[in-house]
């Protein structure tokens, strides 16, 4: 446990003593700011009958942040250590492989969540300036953040997996981005394919992360979605662990 916490702290700390962390945070802030502008634009003048968080989601910047920021956050986790050789000093301390994988995941995950913290000011801002006290409902805001957490968890796990495969941070980021885009694009298949009743459509709807997120911003917390993200995250972390252990098989 001690080694795990030490590693998490180191992982998180490394973002704040290098440029990467600040660049990612600046980029995320820029995209969030742009989404706020669009959000206010659509609220201006006309009555709106959807939750505020759905309006934020409709601006699409959420996806940009998820798809672009996660590979940048996770790219250094394993790849950099392998490149610098510190992987060897790390793996010869009395720390288990599972501890290392979980610590890397936790560290990157916490940083990802920190990058999202400024979004919390939006509901507060809107509530402050809105004449309608019910304009911002705590329920959908909470479930939106749950969605951000769950989707991020999966994307971070995929990123860690991509990073564990290579020594090059660029390759790690590219692979993580490719994995992320594949999953994202799969969601569009339900729209492209003719709507036929059948198991294919059902299956595709089940893995559509766009549909999942739409539920979350509307305040719907579906256990099927939670199981989907938790199990896929566990799957990618398992793969990462196997990659880390693989040096023993060679």
């Amino acid at each position: 446990m001690q080694a795990y916490l030490t590693l998490v702290r180191r992982e998180l700390g490394s973002y704040f003593i290098s440029l990467t962390g600040y660049v990612v945070i600046a980029g995320v802030l820029l995209l969030m700011g742009a989404s706020l502008v669009l959000l206010l634009e659509s609220l201006n003048g006309q009555p709106v009958d959807v939750p505020v968080m759905e309006l934020f989601y409709e601006t699409q910047f959420f996806w940009l942040i998820l798809l672009l920021a996660t590979p940048l956050i996770t790219m250094r986790s394993f790849a950099h250590e392998k490149f610098a050789g510190t992987y060897e000093t790390l793996m010869t301390t009395p720390v288990s492989d599972a501890q290392v994988v979980l610590a890397k995941f936790t560290g990157t995950m916490v940083f990802y969540l920190l990058a999202w913290v400024p979004l919390l000011t939006y509901p507060a801002l809107l509530r402050h300036y809105s004449t309608d006290p019910l304009a911002v409902d705590a329920g959908p805001v909470g479930s939106t953040f749950l969605g951000i957490f769950l989707l991020g968890m999966l994307y971070i796990a995929m990123g860690c997996f991509a990073s564990s495969l290579t020594r090059s941070q660029i390759l790690a980021a590219t692979n993580a981005f490719a994995l992320g885009i594949c999953l994202f694009m799969a969601s569009f298949l339900t729209r492209i394919l003719p709507l036929r009743e059948g198991w294919q459509t059902k299956a595709l709807t089940h893995i559509s992360i766009i549909e999942h997120m739409r539920d979350f911003v509307r305040g719907i917390v579906d256990t099927r979605h939670i199981v989907f993200y938790v199990s896929l995250t566990a799957f990618f972390l398992f793969l990462t662990l196997k990659v880390v252990e693989a040096r023993r098989w060679r």
Partner: protein, 327 residues
């Protein structure tokens, strides 16, 4: 566990038996068998690519062997990897460090990783900082330090959890002569309290720092013995140079009559002096005899030396023997 107790009595720190590592079918090391006793400074000597790093990596539990066993302090490096890792301080080749951290911060981080408590890691960090001469740079970022200091940070890291065995892979690689000297002195000092296993391709380095030498060539062990024994292996055949002012014919006659001289060559030197290169039969030191002879005949003598065999010769000798065997 009983094996561990037994070995503690014996004082065997590292025990390697038939260790083999293959990469994609090609053997990097094959059938290594050697042991290092507690308190020894053992030098792992070999050319680049001989399999030194591979062996040290297996000993430090970074990767497993294809076959064979290795035990550190009685614990198997594969089966009891955690116990072994707790007992060794390992500095890999090229000494990788987190360049973005500060020296003391890094040492404390490593100490915590190795299971020391918060107060212990603070104390130990202070101790190793003193021990490795890092007191002036504790708050500097590692990336800004010179290579010599970085090497000291690597050593301090290896030492921080008071390991029984230090494994240092090419600790003086890439340093300037002054830094090499100070790191070498540091290793010697550490050897008083720890068992040390270093690898190097520099022959004089093991000769200067180690009391046991393991010579490895193309993944196999050529020799494993104490430094003195290995030097002795060759010392009897050391060549003796004598520069004597005497007529060439008389000199030749003398050497021919002296039974201990197996082979000799005489060359003219400046002036009246002749330079004689003598090879004595093994194990005999003929220098006193030569001095006596010179005194008796009232010749002039201006040089009398025995060319001491360096490990360079031993190494070349051993590898040549190996090559001839192959042929």
């Amino acid at each position: 566990m009983s094996a561990a107790v037994e070995n503690k009595k014996d004082g065997v720190m590292v025990e390697v038996e038939n260790l083999t590592k293959r990469y994609a079918g090609r053997a990097a090391v094959e059938g290594l068998t050697f042991s290092v006793r507690r308190g020894e400074i053992a030098g792992f000597l070999g050319q680049n690519g001989a399999g030194k790093s591979t062996t040290l990596r297996m000993l430090s539990c970074f990767m497993p062997a294809t076959s064979g066993t290795a035990r550190v302090s009685g614990f198997d490096v594969f089966l009891d990897a955690d116990e072994v890792r707790r007992r060794i301080g390992y500095m890999p080749e090229n000494n990788p460090l987190h360049l973005d951290m500060r020296v003391r911060e890094y040492l404390k981080f490593r100490a915590r990783l190795k299971g020391l408590s918060r107060s212990q890691s603070r104390e130990r960090a202070d101790v190793v900082v003193q021990q490795c001469g890092l007191a002036d740079v504790t708050n500097k970022v590692i990336g800004q330090l010179s290579k010599g200091f970085r090497q000291r940070v690597g050593l301090a890291d290896a030492l921080i959890h008071e390991p029984e065995l230090l494994i240092l892979d090419e600790p003086t690689n890439g340093l300037d002569p002054r830094q090499i000297q100070s790191v070498r002195q540091l290793i010697k000092d550490l050897g008083r309290t720890h068992t040390v296993l270093i690898s190097t391709h520099l022959l004089y380095e093991v000769e200067m720092t180690c009391n046991r030498i393991i010579v490895i060539h193309q993944g196999r062990i050529l020799a494993s013995d104490t430094t003195e024994n290995i030097q002795q292996l060759m010392s009897g055949r050391g060549q003796i140079i004598a520069e004597i002012a005497a007529p060439m014919d008389e000199l030749r006659e003398c050497w021919e009559q002296m039974a201990e001289v197996e082979h000799f060559e005489i060359a003219a030197s400046e002036g009246i002096y002749h330079r004689c290169a003598l090879i004595p039969s093994s194990g005999v030191d003929i220098r006193p005899r030569i001095y006596q002879l010179v005194c008796e005949r009232k010749w002039g003598l201006r040089e009398l030396t025995r060319s001491r065999h360096t490990l360079e010769d031993i190494f070349l000798h051993l590898t040549r023997a190996d090559r001839e065997e192959e042929l």
